[in-house]
């Protein structure tokens, strides 16, 4: 029996595939090793919603049969996990919330079906902020499984709402994970946990079988340890789906050979983001990362986001849709079972939102989209800090106001809600440390620009090793 060393838990998809095909270890050995680690380490970080060991072992045996016959698939025997709002058979899908603790689906979500077909092995469901944070939570403890604890320092938060996906990927409990983003839920835990996360263009990945929080904002995306792995996973999960009304009917094929040379790509950024908006502890890390991007040869251009109240627009759209989606939960009173009182109040208040207010927000959203289209006439890609500081302490409220006067320039402040309102793809890359915690940098592109973003991420990661750093576990 081959031994599976620790390095395997941090290997990328391409390396694992190579070693599996070289018979260094079998799919069954690999799966057992990951399941053991998942069950041993995951609970200490509140990362796990459910282990799917039996299902995984069954799939691993099938994978070994295929590997023996040299029948290869793109993600064959690669262990992965999904945020617990993605339906999977074999156990409950809780949406991270007590009222749904016993909820069982009899069919896998489309993304799980696709990864299954590509040979991936689902080893577990990953913890999340309850109902993906709908209603607005005040504390990291807003979850059925407790606060997501950061792999780099358990006294700090993992970020949310895809908390378990960030923790499990950073800790090497899975090779990759799926998360979801309505407004920041992939980018935030990716930045805080030191991994690479990709938010796809709205409509690129089917949400069939996934919890809805906002029909017009929700996206499912990969959370991996490298940009190249994000490409491999996105190739598998993208594509049209007649059973998701938001589906754009497009697929994704990573073809970096067709991307323009760096000298032909204009990157828009705002120095104020890195020097004034960002917390002082991050300045050195961000400046160094900016230097790497400039050194790659891209054309850099200073810009600002058009002036809109992005947070207010997004909150109003989200509240309108969430209130309709969870009306039954709210009116039944079971919403009171949620862990976070602010979130309970926010969900209840969403039912008071007038239709005219929702429509006004959607009208302003149309203007935002137009302004963003104009912005991309001047630049090809935007560059901004994924978050303005490292992960906060797990006991701190999340609604603390920024200290000191606001910077004179708005920079790209508000890019997370703006990017989500406009359905833009983005990739968050680990780019350094502040207070011994990871920080992240985001490239944001126009719709369907994933290949360019991933290629830029890959170029950045060829010059840095932040994505290879391992937390102390």
């Amino acid at each position: 029996m081959a031994t599976v060393g620790d390095d395997v838990f941090y290997a990328g998809i391409a390396e694992l595939t190579k070693r599996l095909r070289a018979r260094e270890f079998s799919a069954l050995e690999l799966t057992r090793a990951f399941c053991d680690r998942f069950e041993r380490l995951g609970p200490g970080y509140n990362a796990i919603a459910l282990s799917l060991r039996e299902r995984a072992i069954r799939k691993a045996r099938d994978a070994d049969d295929e590997l023996k016959r040299e029948r290869y698939r793109p993600l064959q025997a690669i262990p992965y996990g999904v945020k617990d709002l993605v339906a999977a058979t074999g156990g409950p899908t809780t949406w991270g919330a007590r009222p749904y603790a016993g909820q069982v689906f009899d069919e896998d979500a489309r993304v799980v079906q696709k990864i299954d077909k590509a040979g991936g092995i689902l080893i577990g469901k990953l913890a999340m902020v309850e109902l993906a944070g709908g209603g607005g939570y005040r504390y990291p403890s807003a979850s059925l499984t407790g606060p997501g604890l950061n792999p780099w320092d358990r006294t700090r938060w993992s970020g949310g709402s895809s908390s378990g996906s960030g923790i499990a990927t950073a800790l090497g409990l899975v090779t990759f994970a799926l998360g979801s983003e309505t407004s920041g839920s992939i980018l935030t835990p990716s930045a805080f946990c030191g991994i690479t996360g990709l938010r796809p263009t709205y409509g690129l990945v089917s949400r069939r079988g996934c919890m809805a929080l906002s029909w017009t904002l929700d996206k499912i995306g990969p959370m991996c340890r490298s940009a190249e792995d994000c490409a491999l996973v996105l190739e598998t999960i993208s594509g049209g789906d007649s059973e998701d009304r938001g589906s754009a009917g497009k697929g994704f094929y990573y073809s970096p050979q067709y991307t323009p040379k760096p000298q032909q790509v204009t990157v828009g950024y705002a120095p104020a983001d890195f020097e004034e908006w960002a917390e002082p502890s991050t300045h050195a890390g961000f400046q160094s990362a900016l230097g790497v991007v400039k050194g790659l040869g891209f054309q850099m251009k200073e810009i600002e986001l058009p002036d809109f109240p992005y947070g207010a627009i997004l909150s109003t759209v989200l509240n309108g849709e969430m209130g309709a989606i969870f009306e039954k939960l709210i009116r039944s009173g079971r919403v009171d079972e949620l862990a976070d009182k602010r979130q309970v109040a926010g969900m209840k208040a969403s039912l008071e939102l007038p239709a005219s207010e929702y429509l006004k927000a959607m009208r302003v959203r149309a203007r935002v989209q137009e302004a963003i289209r104009h912005l991309f006439l001047d630049v090809d890609v935007l560059l901004a800090p994924s978050r303005l500081g490292p992960a906060p302490k797990v006991s701190e409220p999340l609604d603390r106001a920024r200290e000191g006067p606001p910077p004179k320039s708005r920079g790209l402040n508000g890019i997370i809600p703006a990017g989500n309102l406009a359905g833009l793809p983005a990739i968050s890359l680990p780019c350094g440390f502040a207070d011994q915690m990871p920080i992240g940098l985001s490239f944001i592109g126009r719709p369907w620009y994933e290949t360019q973003l991933i290629a830029m991420g890959s170029a950045f990661q060829s010059q840095t090793d932040w994505h290879r750093r391992r937390p102390p576990a």
Partner: protein, 61 residues
């Protein structure tokens, strides 16, 4: 014991007033959530919207 119409009216008036007296005060969280909705509305009101600005029907730029 005989109850006069005046007594009855007094009891009814007191009973009717009870729910108002016993109504729970809105929690800090509820007030905060409602204030957030109002603050969002105020910010949206400041954006000029010509009549022909239709809502977004596509969800990407």
């Amino acid at each position: 014991m005989a109850i006069t119409r005046r007594d009855l009216a007094g009891i009814l008036a007191a009973t009717a007033a009870l729910p108002a007296l016993a109504a729970p005060q809105e929690s800090e969280e509820t007030i905060s959530a409602e204030n957030a909705l109002r603050a969002n509305a105020r910010e949206l009101d400041e954006i000029p919207l010509p009549m022909d600005t239709e809502p977004a029907f596509q969800f990407k730029a």
